[in-house]
């Protein structure tokens, strides 16, 4: 177990590699209850979110979620988040545990107590279980009569699951098909246990933070505090698709529009290590004897069976095939820039 933002989190159960492979080939069950949930509601909620997040909330239908961010005036990340639309005037933001209080303070300050917007921290009212992998639908459908198999990616429904209300979305952080289930903490343990039983015939394994990290990194999904910070814009992070410049003004828009017009100085790139060894966060990236970047995330990839990682490189060096060196303790390991994501389901 490790301590994170006041939560005790499981790093692994049976082992990172085994859990990772269960998710890629079958199904895994994660307890990610540490994630924060903020309710934004009221007649001004849509326009408030429209001004404070870069994705287009006006185009988000009830029963759908989208990936977005909470930006600074400089177009950088206060946090990355999911926006769920539960009704015309009813939204749920799912935010990173470590940023929850800062997100709440930022949103409250920007709402200024008016505009017909109420912001409420519901984090203590929700546990969150993620069921991820190609067999996820087979397992979850045993516990609920709701037609979860018909949900589209990033669709959600609110239904009964094992006798209690739950919000079930077809989302995840692994690069596989899967579901995230928001439910009351009183029911979480019972649902966890029932899921283990329902998934037994499919080889379901409980999976920890270690596997969550290797899975999301193979899928090139950014992690706040690593790829995303208050110094990084979505354009640099290959997340330009969440930035809808044409939707109207929003916090950070001017900076992002200018950055898009002028071109990037650096962008997120993936690399693989060619030699034996693992580059980890903070290790220096060297090109022609000069330190050009530091590793933001690095793991041993159970799918590719090699060490992979991500780093922000000057755009001229971010092309696939660029030869890099990474200073791993006393050794300088040969590496090369590769295409992102490292892994795409079905390929």
């Amino acid at each position: 177990m490790v301590e994170f933002a006041g939560w005790e989190l499981p790093v692994q159960y049976a082992g990172v590699i085994e859990e990772h492979r269960a998710v890629r080939g079958g199904v895994g069950l994660f307890d990610v209850s540490h994630m924060g949930e903020l309710r934004v509601a009221g007649p001004g909620a849509e326009s408030f979110l429209q001004r404070n997040t870069p994705n287009n909330v006006a185009r988000l239908a009830t029963g759908r979620a989208h990936y977005s961010g909470l930006m600074t005036e400089r177009g950088t990340y206060v946090d990355d988040l999911l926006v769920y639309r539960r009704g015309d005037d009813e939204f749920l933001l799912v935010v990173n545990a470590a940023n929850r209080e800062r997100d709440l303070a930022t949103l409250e300050a920007r709402a200024g107590g008016g505009e017909g917007v109420r912001i409420e921290d519901l984090s203590d009212e929700y546990s969150l279980l993620a069921v991820q992998g190609p067999k996820a639908s087979d397992v979850v459908s045993q516990l609920t009569p709701a037609p979860i198999g018909e949900l589209r990616y990033y669709g959600f429904l609110e239904a009964e699951l094992l006798g209690a209300r739950a919000l079930i979305s077809r989302t995840g952080y692994t690069g596989e098909d899967g579901f995230e289930i928001y439910l009351s903490p009183e029911h979480a343990e019972q649902v966890w246990e029932a899921m283990l039983v329902a998934g037994a015939s499919e080889g379901l394994m409980p999976a920890g933070l270690g596997a969550r990290d290797t899975l999301r990194l193979e899928a090139a999904m950014a992690l706040y505090g690593h790829e995303l910070t208050e110094e990084i814009t979505p354009l640099e992070a290959n997340l330009g698709w969440v930035v809808k410049l044409k939707k109207g003004d929003f916090v950070g828009r001017d900076v992002l529009a200018a950055q898009k017009a002028e071109g990037l100085e650096r962008r997120l790139a993936g690399f693989e290590i060619v030699e034996r060894g693992i580059a980890r966060e903070g290790h220096e990236v060297v090109v022609a004897g000069e330190v050009v970047a530091t590793v933001t995330s690095g793991v041993w990839s159970p799918t590719l069976e090699k060490a992979i990682g991500m780093t922000y490189l000057p755009v001229a060096l971010a092309e696939v095939g660029t030869e890099l060196e990474i200073q791993v303790r006393k050794r300088r390991l040969a590496a090369r820039v590769v295409k992102l994501p490292f892994y795409r389901r079905g390929e």
């Binding site: 082992g15 990172v16 034996r276 303790r329």
Partner: protein, 126 residues
């Protein structure tokens, strides 16, 4: 749990001495702490080391650990099988997951027997 036919270091290595050659590995406790091993970097045969000098590294999914020689001596053999099967360190740290054989330059010092190491480990995890 810890075989009685060898000696143990506070860095969680074991050495099993046969004449003037010692076989060296990491302990069950160490492999469990490290988790799934994915790379083992070993020294060249013929290199000499002082006691407590770093002779290699073991990299797992979640951490990296230096391996220190518990004795002074010269490397006479390395476990080539670990190149392709580093998981042998997890599967049998006291047997098939041995790391190197070292020709002792002198008598080992400051090491523990099985019971002593077990008590030491109990103190570490308490």
């Amino acid at each position: 749990m810890y075989p009685t036919d060898r000696l143990y270091s506070k860095d969680h290595e074991w050495i099993k001495i046969d004449g003037e050659v010692g076989t060296l590995g990491i302990t069950e406790y160490a492999q469990d702490e490290l988790g799934e091993v994915v790379f083992v970097e070993l020294p060249e045969v013929g290199q000499s080391y002082d006691a407590a000098e770093e002779i290699g590294t073991i990299e797992s999914v979640k951490a990296v650990a230096e391996v220190f020689s518990p004795v002074a001596g010269e490397i006479v053999e390395v476990n080539e099988a670990l190149e392709d099967k580093p998981e042998l360190v997890n599967e049998g740290p006291h047997e098939g997951g041995w790391l190197v054989k070292i020709k002792l330059a002198g008598a080992p010092e400051g090491l523990m027997d099985s019971a002593g190491y077990e008590a030491f480990v109990a103190g570490e995890s308490a």
